[in-house]
């Protein structure tokens, strides 16, 4: 309660000071009266020698005050009075601030959720994701022997857990069969991620054992929605992909990892496994005190031992760990930071506009400051008053901006979330927290200081007597003040140009992406996934039979033109596999390498309208018993048979892979056009397409466990119309296997460029705002200057200048600033656009078209903004303006 005591003590101290001063004066008067003065004379003389009593009392009290708290309060009250006195200014400023700070807050709250908010697990900053790397690319898909090898590095990690790389669709049987997402995990997965249970328990080493039996832990949502929160679910059996599993636990309501799962199954990895195929993902927790750098150094060294144990693996391969959060966020980090930078530019321009407004106001208030100065206010006091006003204004604006920003971010993420991770459904994970509040508060204060500083400096530097003598109206035409405003306008124009150049480059990128020929047609194509888990699909033949029968049913549906299955869709990741050209002497031409690998059913080419360049398509006769065949894409043909006809040649796929994946030599029977995988901005890779019916059993087994197959249909009607009937046919043909993830191919294409779309849209909004704000800035300056120079214009007119000349003079003065800004902006943009080169596609960071168009666009906008005041100036009646003076 020290401060309370201080307040009381202070009151006493104040009283003491006043008392001492009174004593002093009385004694002085007494002395003077003894010298023969009258009481009145003595009193006046005493006061004269003493000085201003009130002022001295005030200064004495100030010594005891908290750092100027009381006077700050007085400043605040004064500031509020000032706002009330000029509502037009206050409203304009608040609206600008709310928009600027609101937009920045909106972007920041996304940045906060994705980049700053720690993961919702215990010790999130010590969680690391494991990668296998050849020094150039890093792969988070790793193998069981690698997992076991890392477990041996026990001095680095205290918890190490492996899981599937992605959750697998599993068919949960019941009255309403549905596809649920299951994730195979090691027993310590739940401990690593801090999972609680509401019922039962999670896995132990017993379930983790190879013979641990079939058990499952349900997610809270699945338990609630599918099992109606059945309290006696523990010990019950559920059917997944035809196999019975015993429920041993239900996870807590909050528990989910980024992989997303409806239920978890034990991974049951073979401790003696030597299978180095990468189908798993490993996350570990660093021991306290172990840094990422130490761990990576040791892992790199240890890789030597691993390669010695498994000579088959790539000789340059080693291991790295990365913070889990970085790995999850991926490339959206740079996008978000870019957007934050962009919105920062808009805020800067808004600041410049406000500073300009403040300058005008300050000039109108020159007399007020002069009077206050003559009454004893120091320069510092006036500066402080002005800064208090602007900071208070921006704090109120920031508060409005916070609300506006929340609204904007909700709206934005509902429209499009750019496929950015960690945002939740429609951005539900984005919200206010202390970081956003602190950011907005800091931003508001800084904004207030930024736009208040220049005018405050200007206002405190003036000659008292001239300011008092000058009439209120003529004040503010001073050269310095006008120059400061002109510089602000030039700066605004330059910033707007830089931002617009960036936006234009993104627009061009997006257009380029959209005009890429992906090698297939996405028009009227419907896709859906089907999970083929369970003992029925461990071999190729039953899958082929299911596909054949289901295709017959679907193709018979009215509106369906053709259908097929494929292991993966265009634009999505595809497996790679070693390839060898048979019967070719080593060294003469490329005889070995790797290729993308795709298994499809007949109909695949026609569904996607992929052109068959030579040879033939697959048909029903390409079965497990017929001679093995392969279709290659054009790129593969050129790569392996640069001067030869590939048709009729023999290749061997998957040489060196574990025996269960062993393939037979295949004859090339067709060459097709290239299809893009990994996205529209990727380069075409060689690809080998094999008939699904001829896939080795080992590969069918492992892929059916790991991944769903995709059904694709070409329709003659709107694809979604056929959704229900196709699902029904597939359900019947497969004996009750449901489908999921129904999407049109068009949707998948636009999703693949969602992030670029998101960036482009936001940058466009920012750049339009920047251009508008810059235009408002130029307009404001010129309008004010015309008003200030009414007398000069009047004289010029009286002396015979015609209206056109006056108009052109004003236009030229405004345009000079805009053009200066455009030149500076182009220069600045040229030096910084290479920083965004990695975001661009199909356009150079110095694209001449962009660098020519944007300054022209700015000039047009500026011309419109200047035209209005110029026109008004030229319409002035010289007699009236002269008389008004």
């Amino acid at each position: 309660m020290d401060w309370l005591n201080r307040i009381f003590r202070r009151d006493r101290l104040y009283a003491e000071v006043s008392q001492s001063i009174q004593e002093h004066l009385e004694e002085k008067i007494e002395v003077l009266m003894e010298k023969g003065m009258s009481r009145e004379e003595a009193s006046r003389a005493a006061r004269l020698e003493f000085g201003n009593v009130t002022r001295i009392e005030e200064r004495s009290r100030e010594v005891w005050q908290w750092p100027k708290l009381e006077s700050v309060w007085a400043d605040l009250r004064l500031a509020l009075q000032q706002f009330m006195a000029s509502p037009a200014f206050t409203l304009t400023a608040l609206a600008t601030l709310a928009l600027g700070i609101g937009a920045t807050t909106a972007i920041f709250s996304v940045v906060n959720t994705v980049l700053l908010k720690p993961l919702a697990y215990p010790d999130p900053d010590r969680l690391a994701l494991f990668f296998e790397t050849d020094g150039q690319r890093e792969f988070s898909a790793v193998s069981i022997p690698e997992f076991h090898f890392w477990q041996e590095q026990s001095n680095l990690f205290q918890d190490l857990s492996a899981s599937d790389t992605d959750s697998v669709g599993l068919n949960l049987a019941g009255d309403h069969p549905e596809v649920v997402h299951g994730l195979h995990v090691t027993e310590n997965y739940f401990h690593l991620f801090g999972a609680q249970t509401v019922l039962g328990r999670t896995f132990t080493t017993v379930e983790e054992n190879l013979n641990g039996g079939r058990t499952a832990v349900l997610s809270y949502d699945l338990w609630k929605n599918h099992f109606a929160s059945d309290p006696s679910i523990l010990g019950k059996s559920i059917s997944l992909g035809g196999d019975p599993y015993t429920v041993i636990g239900v996870a807590g309501q909050q528990f989910q990892t980024e992989l997303g799962a409806d239920l978890w199954l034990p991974l049951q990895a073979d401790p003696n496994s030597t299978d180095v195929t990468p189908f798993f993902r490993v996350v570990g927790r660093l021991k306290p005190g172990v840094t990422l750098i130490q761990a990576n150094a040791q892992l790199k060294l240890a890789a030597v031992n691993f390669r010695r144990r498994y000579p088959a693996v790539n000789r340059r391969m080693y291991f790295v760990v990365r913070p889990l959060q970085d790995a999850i966020v991926g490339n959206s980090r740079s996008s978000l930071l870019l957007l934050l930078g962009g919105v920062g530019f808009v805020l800067l321009i808004a600041c410049a506009n406000l500073a300009s407004l403040q300058l005008i106001r300050a000039s109108g208030r020159k007399r007020e400051f002069a009077i206050r100065a003559s009454l004893g206010a120091s320069q510092g006091r006036i500066v402080r008053q002005l800064l208090t006003e602007s900071v208070l204004l921006s704090l109120i604006g920031g508060l409005l901006g916070l609300g506006l920003g929340e609204l904007a971010v909700r709206l934005l993420l509902t429209v499009s979330s750019g496929d950015i991770p960690r945002l939740g459904v429609n951005g539900s994970a984005v919200g206010l927290d202390w970081r956003v509040l602190a950011f907005t508060l800091t931003l508001s204060v800084l904004t207030g200081l930024a736009f208040g500083l220049a005018p405050a400096r200007g206002a405190s530097n003036f000659d008292l007597s001239t300011a008092l003598k000058e009439s209120g109206r003529a004040a503010g035409t001073g050269f310095h003040q006008q120059r400061a405003r002109a510089l602000l306008v030039v700066g605004e124009a330059a910033l707007a140009v830089v931002l617009t150049v960036c936006a234009a480059l993104f627009i061009r990128t997006f257009i380029a992406l959209q005009s890429v020929n992906p090698g297939f047609s996405s028009h009227n194509v419907l896709t859906m996934q089907m999970a083929l888990t369970g003992p029925r699909f461990h071999q190729t033949a039953p899958v082929a039979q299911l596909v054949r029968e289901a295709r017959q049913r679907i193709n018979a549906l009215p509106g369906v033109m053709n259908s097929a299955t494929t292991a993966s869709l265009p634009l999505q990741a595809v497996h790679r596999i070693p390839v060898d050209v048979l019967g070719r002497p080593a060294g003469s031409a490329p005889n070995t390498g790797s290729t993308q690998w795709l298994a499809v059913s007949p109909g695949y080419l026609s569904v996607f309208e992929i052109p068959l360049l030579r040879g033939r398509d697959f048909n029903q006769n390409d079965s497990g018993t017929s001679p093995p065949v392969v279709i290659i894409n054009q790129t593969m043909g050129k790569m392996f048979w640069p001067r030869q006809n590939p048709l009729g040649q023999q290749i061997l796929l998957g040489k060196g892979m574990p025996p269960m994946f062993a393939d037979r030599p295949r004859e090339v029977v067709g060459i097709v056009g290239d299809v893009l995988t990994d996205g529209l901005d990727a380069t075409v890779q060689p690809m080998a397409i094999v008939p699904q019916a001829q896939v080795p059993d080992g590969i069918t087994d492992i892929s059916d466990r790991m991944e769903p197959i995709h059904w694709v249909l070409r329709t003659s009607v709107e694809p979604q119309q056929l959704n229900a009937s196709v699902k029904e046919q597939l359900l019947e043909a497969s004996g009750g296997i449901p489908t999921s993830e129904t999407r049109t191919m068009r949707d998948i294409v636009s999703r693949s460029i969602a992030l670029q779309n998101f960036d482009m849209q936001l940058l466009s909004i920012f750049s339009v705002s920047a251009l508008l704000l810059a235009a408002v800035g130029i307009y404001g300056l010129m309008a004010y200057s015309v008003q200030q120079r009414a007398q000069e214009i009047g004289v010029r007119m009286a002396l015979g200048a015609d209206r056109e000349k006056i108009r052109n003079m004003v236009i030229w003065q405004g345009m000079r600033l805009a053009l200066a800004g455009a030149v500076i902006g182009v220069g600045a943009a040229l030096t910084i656009t290479h920083l965004i080169a990695t975001f661009l596609f199909g356009v150079k960071s110095w694209d001449p078209a962009v660098f020519l168009t944007v300054p022209m666009l700015l000039s047009c906008v500026a011309l419109i903004a200047v035209w209005v005041p110029a026109h008004r100036g030229s319409r002035m009646d010289p007699m009236q303006t002269l008389r008004a003076e």
Partner: protein, 114 residues
């Protein structure tokens, strides 16, 4: 206000040093301090009497002075200011630095005369 700026302290802290020096011999009240400084400086340093009080408050806050009620030479109850040990120490430090400063200034003035 104009008077204030014409007779500004020679250097910051000068008033404080004079007050400390004045109080070194015996505790005094405000009026007496003002008269003492005026008399001793032979009216060369015309300090505004009032400016004494903010300075006194600063020194109270810094702990160089203490104040208590006492009786003036005219038998009036007045607030008396007294030097503390801390104030005495501060005075010694300030005096030596002031003397060094004046010595330096004198030397420069002497040289520039020749």
């Amino acid at each position: 206000m104009t008077k204030d700026s014409q007779h500004r302290d020679l250097f910051p802290g000068a008033l404080e040093i004079m007050i400390l020096q004045t109080l070194r011999t015996k505790p005094m009240h405000g009026y007496a301090i003002a008269q003492h400084i005026k008399n001793l400086s032979d009216d060369l340093l015309q300090i505004e009497e009032g400016s004494l009080y903010p300075a006194l408050q600063r020194m109270l806050k810094a702990g160089w002075l203490e104040s208590a009620m006492g009786i003036s030479a005219r038998d009036r109850p007045v607030r008396i200011f007294k030097l503390t040990a801390l104030g005495r120490k501060h005075l010694e430090q300030e005096r030596s630095s002031v003397e060094r400063m004046f010595a330096g200034i004198n030397r420069v003035l002497a040289i520039s005369k020749t």
